[in-house]
Amino acid sequence: MYNLKITIRRLFKDKAFSLINIFGLAIGISSFLVLFIHVSNEKSFDKHFTDHENIYRVTSIPGGLENAAWARSMGIVYTASEEIPEVELATQFTHCEEGTIKMGETSISQKDIMSVDEAFMQLFEVEPLVGNLSEISKPNTVFVTEDFARKYYGNLNPVGQTIKIEALQYTRDLGDYEIRGVVKNTHPKTHFRYELLISQKGALQERFVSLPDRKIQWTYNYFKLQKDADPQLVAEKVAAFYDNSNLKTTPGPQEYGFALFPMDDIHLKSDYRFELRESSSKINIGLFILISFVILTISLLNFTNLSIAKLIKRSKELGLKKSIGATKSQLVKQVLMEVFLVCVMAIGISLLAIESLKPMINRLFEIEFDIYFSEPVVYLTITGVLFTCLLLTAVFVAAFLLARSSAIDILSGRNNFSGSYVLKSLLVVQVTIVIILISGTFLVNKQISFVLNKPLGFDKENVVVIRVKDFSKDPAVFARELEKQSAIESVGFTQQHFGYPAQGFGLEGLGLDGTAEFVFANYDYLKTMNIKLVHNWIKPDADTVRGMVINNHLYQRLMERHGSMENLLAYSNAQPLEPGETRINYIGVAEDFNYSSAHESIGDFAFWLDEGGNRARFTHVRINNLHAGMEAIKNTWNEYYPNQELDYFFIDEKIAQQYKAETILSRILFAFSTIGIFISIIGISALALFISQQRTKEIGIRKVNGATVSEILGLLNQSFVKWVLIAFVIATPLAFYAMSKWLENFAYKTSMSWWIFALAGVLALVIALITVTWHSWRSATRNPVESLRYE
């Protein structure tokens, strides 16, 4: 009680210093908690399922496409599971990101429809609120989530109502499904989401039955293994099952790699195409953890720095108390009490700040952050912070102030040498971190703008993509109608748009290893996307362009192997033709372009050009005027497809979405390095203040003896420049190493220029000089009489 009163009085007496100290720490703790809690939330995905560590997703990847692997796999995987004793439970299911359903008279588009079996319910612990889950095995049944039920049926019991499923991803008109129950919403930390769970029996039955005999990858396959079963071994057994099956010799790629991917890793590590839900693989969880600890370290260092500076200033008082009979432990207790109080205030402020800033943080960083006060992270952080602060201060007080110097040294202020070295090394560490943060921010920004502005090989601006679902009418008529309008330049068809997983075909028939990706498109698509042809062998008089346009990358590889197109044709014509296959008719070579993702390098790619079929699924429309163009599209659509919702997006937005992770990353990095730099400025500033105060008398004497203000500024800055330089030397190699590690994630990387480091160093120096000059200027311009009387 006695100490508490004095402590509070002391805090109020030096308001500026206390505020800086408390808020510096509070900012650090809040930043740490926000980042760290977010990371731990991300890490806890799927961990709520019992035996989550034994659940695996099985993938079947055609040889050569390892870099473009799908999360989906072939139906034979599910069949194989019956023969493998280690598999305790296996499920296969499909997922439709967006389908169309009809209730009563209205068609609506519905997200996240999954067709599942009983094993799915069991494996992923679907909890029924109404109904019996085993009814999912009956034909044409559907279970809806509580959100869905509330949205469309309010408080009524939806069981017995019917939903008409008009379109899933690849199928149409599945007919009526009867609601047999309501299930709890998907757990928010799950790597997938469902709103409707439909039966695999009934309308879909035929497709599921035929799956084991087809090389299509339509379903997701999950195995739950027995404890201690080796997933590698299970994968080998699946592969052996495939090798012995008739499926292997059917048309399509022959070689498949089977692998079991742990479910625990899906959310954080999956780069698979057709991932069920956006994963966080690009978010760089490791980088986040690193940044959060860096910020916390800076603020702890800062806090200790300030507390020690303050203590040195007060050392006289401690010495005096020692002379009137205070024991060491009483003094240490008193100092720790003060530190404790400040820490507690800082922690309180930061918890309040997190609560109130939560919505803003989530908006800014596009994350789903929430703090659960009962989780160990929170109280571990609090104890950790308290412990570190108290420990560091206690060590300093015990080692430097009380033990080494006798009371009389402290009293006569003879001991400031000991403290300053501690302070200066703390300062060097702080400046080092600042330099690393600044250069890191520069580089991440440089890399992101490099990736965003990299030529894609096609023109992404002003292209609207319309999803066409109704193929009962000829989309070519719709396209011709559109092209008549002045605001529309051209219309092309494709089955896959940029970023949508493409198909694969084996290159063995062409004498090459591996698999190329290809999409079905029409010739107008190339025109619409402004994809340039390097070689054009299209016969000018043909009314329909049919054949294959390969990209330059594949062309170069083929030329390397065969020397000329004639040799290539001779080679491939000599290969036996499988039933149902046709010879490839090469009609052109396109410039290289990046089709799927900027994270991957350009591979072998081809367009299979023709008209008709499902090619119009994604109708690409190039417009020359945003407003008029959209107006024209809407009008034509409503005329041609009355009562159907126009579903469209802009291709450049789709591309930008691919960089969402990087953009968010750079935003987070920018925000937190700003915070880090801010805290460090506080630290440097307080230290400058402290040093100039300690040298007040010296400054006075120098001035009396004729030193000018600028000479004194130079004198005080000199030592700081030295410490910043030392920090620079330490920081540069560390930053260089960390950044080259990070750049390894990208196929296309920006160069690591020397100016990044130079600029970071200069910035750190400028920050130091400005703060130091400000404080020294104040003491240098003081009347020398006043400063000499300072004692």
Binding site: I6, E317, G325, Q330
Partner: protein, 222 residues
């Protein structure tokens, strides 16, 4: 009460040993009022600090109340600071964040005196030095003489047997200085042993014995 035998105190520089005190022998009995005099750098304050356990001699023997001081443990020194020795300084050394009342109270807190008792003891001091009205003021609001009064009150509130004063009037003008010396004299008359360091012959006369130091040697004892 105090026996110093052949006390040496020195600082080692690279190739040179600088003596602050050399072969000092001094006996002080209970109830004496000793003034240590000498020019600047003679080692007066060092001697006082050694006597007050704020500093340690390098060589020689120091007996305090017949106890050899170099065998004292840190704990016992603290005990002596609490109950046997009071300090006053030239620069007063009051704690800035504490008011008069709290400054006087501090040593009692460290001694673990109970609240009620503490209150009575501090009140008595305030009364005795006529500073009751100033008890809520902070050091910066007091004149130098008043600050030194508070410092003395703080030094003797625990009724120590020995009061050590390092130039108690050095920062005060003569009138205030005189008042402080009168007070010390009175305390000595009440039986307190006092050792003061002073430059002023006049102040030295308040005591009953003068010890002169020069260049670390005890020159005169009169």
């Amino acid at each position: 009460m105090i026996q110093l035998k052949n006390i040496d105190k020195y600082y080692d520089a690279k190739f040179q040993r600088t003596f602050v005190l050399k072969g000092v022998n001094l006996d002080i009995d209970q109830g004496e009022f000793v003034s240590i005099m000498g020019p600047s750098g003679a080692g007066k304050s060092t001697l006082l600090n050694i006597i007050g356990f704020l500093d340690e001699p390098n060589e020689g023997e120091y007996l305090f109340l017949d106890q050899p001081a170099n065998q004292l443990k840190e704990k016992q020194k603290v005990q002596y600071h609490r109950s046997h020795i009071g300090f006053i300084f030239q620069a007063f050394h009051l704690i800035e964040e504490m008011n008069v009342y709290e400054n006087i109270e501090t040593p009692l807190v460290y001694r673990g005196v109970k609240g009620k008792e503490r209150k009575a003891m501090v009140a008595e001091m305030l009364d005795r030095f006529n500073i009751v009205a100033k008890k809520d003021l902070f050091p910066s609001q007091l004149s130098g003489g008043q600050q030194q009064l508070v410092a003395i009150a703080r030094a003797i509130v625990g009724s120590p047997k020995l009061l050590l004063a390092d130039e108690p009037t050095g920062n005060l003008h003569s009138e205030q200085g005189q008042m402080i010396m009168e007070l010390l004299k009175k305390l000595n008359d009440e039986g307190m042993t006092i050792i003061q360091v002073t430059h002023s012959e006049e102040n030295a006369k308040y005591g009953n014995r003068i010890v002169r130091l020069k260049d670390g040697y005890l020159k005169e004892d009169e």
